[in-house]
Amino acid sequence: MGFTIGAICAILFTVFIVQVAKARELASIVRNDSAEQDEINKFQAGLGLVFLVSFMAICVWSFVHYIPTSMGWGPNIAASEHGPDVDYLFNLTLFFIFIVFVLTHIALFWFPWKFRGVQGKVGLYWAHNELLEIVWMVVPAVVMTFLVIGGLQAWNNIMLDFPEDEGYTSVAFPNEDSEKEFIEIEATGSQFLWYLRYPGRDGKLGTKYFTQINSNNQLGQTWTDEKNMDDFLVNEIVLPVNKPVRVRITARDVLHNFYIRDMRVKMDAVPGMPTYFIFTPTVTTDSMRRRLSNEPEWQVPDKNDDSKQRWETYKYELACAELCGKGHYSMKNIVTIVEEDEYLDWFDKQEGGKLNESVDSVTGNKTYVFEKGSVKSKYFSYFNTVTDEFNPLQEKTEPLEKIVENKLRVGLCMKSMKDWRNSSEEGTDDYVQAEEAMAKLKPLLKSARLYTVDQVDESYDNVKKSLLIVEAAMAQIQNTDSSDATLTIEKESEVENNEEVGK
């Protein structure tokens, strides 16, 4: 009904305009006033000036209004290392073009007013001026040169891949002092979701091939490649802040595009041709939220969760930016940037495996039994069904499970210390001792977290020894109340030992 009324109004309005226009034309023919065009020129040129002023004013006003969402301004400052270069170039270019935009528009709408037609007047015969033409050819050329040089420097820095032959290597967690270590993850576009793969402990993504894809193996990982042993798939990209990340971008079916707005990361995913993008996140999700909390438009209740403000739920988002079919607009995953510790905790969880607690019903002693699962359980189930004649990775998976077990046991120890500390009053002997123990455990835990299967040969024994000592300490913890001072001190000394052995 509303639509019908609207349509009728529109038609009547159209008829009205057309009739008025016809009447004006007829009147003009009847008047036959040769000076009429002068009046029209004046009116139209005047309209041009009105347009000029309002257009420029609206451009400036709207730019100021939209600063809070514009790149390089307000909270939309890039959250990656290369991002500010992109933003700077954008805004630098914007500065130049705005000057040109304003000057040319002033000329374009002011000249018709200044030189509006008057009957009987003859235009100026001014066909060219070489000096002028050279000037307005050279000035843009110079500005362009300037922008090209800046742009290409930034572009080549951003797009430069890590050269393999110069010792660059992907690891599970890059060392502070190494400039040649980076994290490599993989994103695979598919209609209409992203498969996100982490390389696991070895830091290396295993090979995959599309013919291997099945419902249990969505990426087609080749299970004969030992690098695949510890790879895991996730639904959310979690990355440590300030560590270089190389995203290997692939597609399963059609083109997709890996796009993280806040990171200034964008690259097509092409079937059969892996691409990459290297970036270093510099702002954690938490810092980004703090940044947003200063902005009035983010200090409103969240749409989905009334108890929180909008800024509290902000998340970086991975999107698809290349048309891939009808679900193109829905390929979203969350990207979370966290501090180092948080990242390692998350990584532990993804790695899987767990220690099952069992309590001896007679003595009350707790023992911990390791349950496998640090690598894809499907991987194991696959090899369990294959006869022993062909099980090339059997030897490799056992040590992998072992080091995961080590890590979990050290982690458990760490956790007990933490509990002990937390249950003690600050400043007491217990508290101080627990703190010291934690400080000593920390490097051990870190190395336990990051040992790879390859490193097992040289350090396996050490790990094993330290593990024994840790477990002894564990046994003592289990046997005592954690607040019992004497026993924990003994355990403390043992931890010290194991620390030495561990090194």
Binding site: I29, S62, L147, L255, G272, K332
Partner: protein
């Protein structure tokens, strides 16, 4: 095939034999209605056919954009009222009765909108119309070099349109993979509904279209090179002709590449080859035999056409605007030779920049260096043209009628849209801006709206030449201001969406916190689009009304133009001039020279006078 010499003899014969002339004077091939209006070989009639077909397609293409703008501006609104028109593409919720646009059809609309506007309207409707109308008239020829090919050019275009139109009614819907039609999406019927029969018809349609462009283009080039009247040497040609010539050369060199890409795509779709396919697992099946191709290859082929294509679209508009501005400002075009050389430079450079559409597609990033340099070099001839247009206005005696206003509007649009190209041509900035609304804003303003403005300027200016009547000036001015303000209202805000990183081709932004902040802006854009569409309806009414009822043209040369198309009689028949074709003695821009308002090209140089073009 009508041979021009025969025609000319025939004409002389007829002039001798009966003194008076009528509308279809001198054409023995135009005896019946069908020969005159349908399978006509008269370039003027073919021009009108291109124009009106283009207008019909423009209305369809623009209406499609209104439908998908409704989805973007009012997500969740009840669209069930569109069901009579769109049928099953509106999914009605059985419980609430709320109708939703099907996402697949949303993408089909976007695809069809792009294809229709880029190819059917701004290539055929613009270049087809004005090249046909003006090349023989402004060069001084009785018709095109081959009127027969010219006619075929139109009918292949018509056929292309018919095939695409049919695809709108397919059960699986028209093609929905974007106007660029990137494989593997377009190459795999199982990847999307639109890639089934819809894609086949889309490819077929565009192959017919390529044929049409080639037939037209080869004709335009031959006519310009061979059939200029006496005295019309190259540097006496109006800039329109220069623009059409370079446009036709670009089309002739680039469209076959598109066709080859389409043939390969068809082989991939039909014959099981894998030019563009590699290692694909789709619809639960690994295509084990389809390996070794490269999806990027198609993009290279496509954009090798695609980039010249944007100049194929904008160059004719540039030519038209140069001519209209000069005539309506009563001033010679400023820097004629600079204008000619910048057209040539743009034409040459347009072949060296195609991969700037592909910075983020996985092409080797270091190739981008070359394309960044060439892309930003294009800014120089473009800037020269803009400054020359503005300088043309300076010192003029500007007659601000609709044609002139649209020319000024064109320059404004070309500046606004061209400047943001400086952002996008720079690969580093393109990392963030690629495939966002910033790109949408950029290319709509610079090659969509600007080209339309050039086309409107041409239509208002040469309408008397086509129909012997004028269009209504009041409606024309309402059309102009409505379109200028409306177009900026639609595409201006899109820059801010792009600066916030909102990606294009999204059916809905609701899933994304970062992209969903602009509901009010999207609503504003949609309303602006509807209003602007309404202004175009006024234009269409004005156009068709004026064909029959417009103010009659009484003077032969109503605008006081020096070019020779105005020396032919009003409503000239096939053959254009009754007697001899006028000879040309000077360049086409002698306005205000020697204190005279204008000196026609046909007037011989007086003693000691130097031709203005030199």
């Amino acid at each position: 095939m009508a041979d021009v010499n025969i025609l000319e003899k025939d004409l002389e014969h007829k002039t001798n034999y009966d003194g008076h002339h009528d509308d279809h004077h001198g054409d023995k091939y135009q005896s019946s209605f069908i020969d005159r209006y349908i399978f006509s070989q008269d370039h003027k009639t073919i021009a009108k056919q291109f124009l009106i077909t283009g207008m019909i397609w423009a209305i369809i293409g623009a209406a499609m954009s209104i439908i998908f703008r409704l989805q973007l501006g009012f997500p969740g609104a009840d669209m069930s009222w569109l069901q009579p028109l769109l049928g099953g593409w509106i999914q009605i919720d059985p419980v609430t009765g709320v109708g939703k646009l099907d996402p697949e059809f949303y993408y089909a609309l976007v695809t069809m909108h792009g294809t229709i506007i880029v190819f059917f309207v701004l290539t055929a409707g613009l270049s087809g119309t004005f090249s046909n109308l003006l090349i023989p008239l402004q060069c001084g020829a009785r018709d095109m070099a081959s009127p027969m090919l010219n006619m075929l050019s139109y009918w292949f275009f018509f056929l292309a349109g018919a095939v695409l139109f049919i695809s709108l009614f397919l059960n699986t819907g028209p093609f929905s993979g974007g106007w660029t039609g990137y494989p593997p999406l377009s190459g795999l019927p199982q990847a999307s509904d639109g890639s089934k029969a819809g894609a086949t018809l889309w490819i077929l349609s565009l192959v017919f279209f390529v044929v049409s462009v080639l037939l037209g283009g080869i004709n335009y080039i031959t006519t310009v090179i061979n059939m200029r009247t006496k005295g019309m040497h190259m540097f006496r040609m109006p800039l329109t002709i220069w623009a059409f010539l370079v446009t036709a050369i670009l089309a002739l060199l680039s469209f076959p590449v598109l066709a080859s890409g389409f043939f390969m795509l068809t082989f991939d779709r039909v014959l099981g080859t894998s030019f563009f396919l590699n290692e694909i697992f789709v619809a639960g099946e690994a295509l084990t035999t389809r390996v070794g191709g490269s999806a990027i290859l198609f993009q290279h082929l496509f954009w090798f056409l695609g980039h010249p294509e944007v100049y194929i679209i904008i160059l004719p508009s540039m030519g038209l605007v140069s001519e209209v501005l000069s005539v309506q400002c009563r001033k010679p075009i400023f820097g004629y030779k600079a204008m000619v050389f910048s057209i040539l430079a743009i034409g040459l450079l347009s072949f060296l920049v195609w991969a700037h559409h592909m910075y983020m597609t996985g092409m080797n990033p270091f190739i981008a260096n070359i394309f960044v340099i060439f892309t930003l070099i294009i800014a120089v001839p473009s800037a020269v043209k803009v400054f020359n247009w503005i300088a043309t206005i300076w010192g003029g005696n500007v007659r601000l009628n609709s044609a002139c206003l649209f020319s000024i509007g064109f320059v404004s649009m070309f500046i606004s849209g061209g400047l943001t190209g400086v952002h996008l041509g720079n690969a580093a900035i393109d990392i963030q801006q690629h495939d966002t609304y910033f790109v949408v804003a950029h290319f709509h303003i610079v090659m969509g709206v600007a080209a339309f403005f050039g086309m409107f300027a041409g239509i208002y200016h040469w309408f008397p030449r086509m129909y012997g009547r004028f269009m209504n000036e009041t409606l024309g001015k309402i059309h102009f201001w409505g379109t200028l303000v409306g177009a900026y209202m639609i595409f201006g805000p899109m820059h801010y969406l792009g600066m916030a990183g909102v990606p294009r081709r999204y059916y809905s932004f609701e899933g994304f916190e970062s992209f969903n902040q602009f509901a009010d802006l999207n609503e504003f854009i949609t309303i602006a689009a509807i209003l602007t569409f309404f202004c175009q309806i006024l234009f269409v009414i004005n156009f068709f009304y004026s064909i029959y009822k417009g103010r009659k043209q009484t003077e032969l040369n109503p605008w006081g133009a020096s070019t020779i198309e105005w020396t032919a009689p009003i409503n000239a028949g096939h053959g254009n001039w009754e007697g001899d074709i006028p000879h040309v003695h000077r360049w086409p821009y002698d306005y205000g020279r020697h204190g005279r308002d204008f000196i026609p090209q046909t007037e011989p140089l007086s003693e000691g006078e130097v031709d203005g073009g030199h």
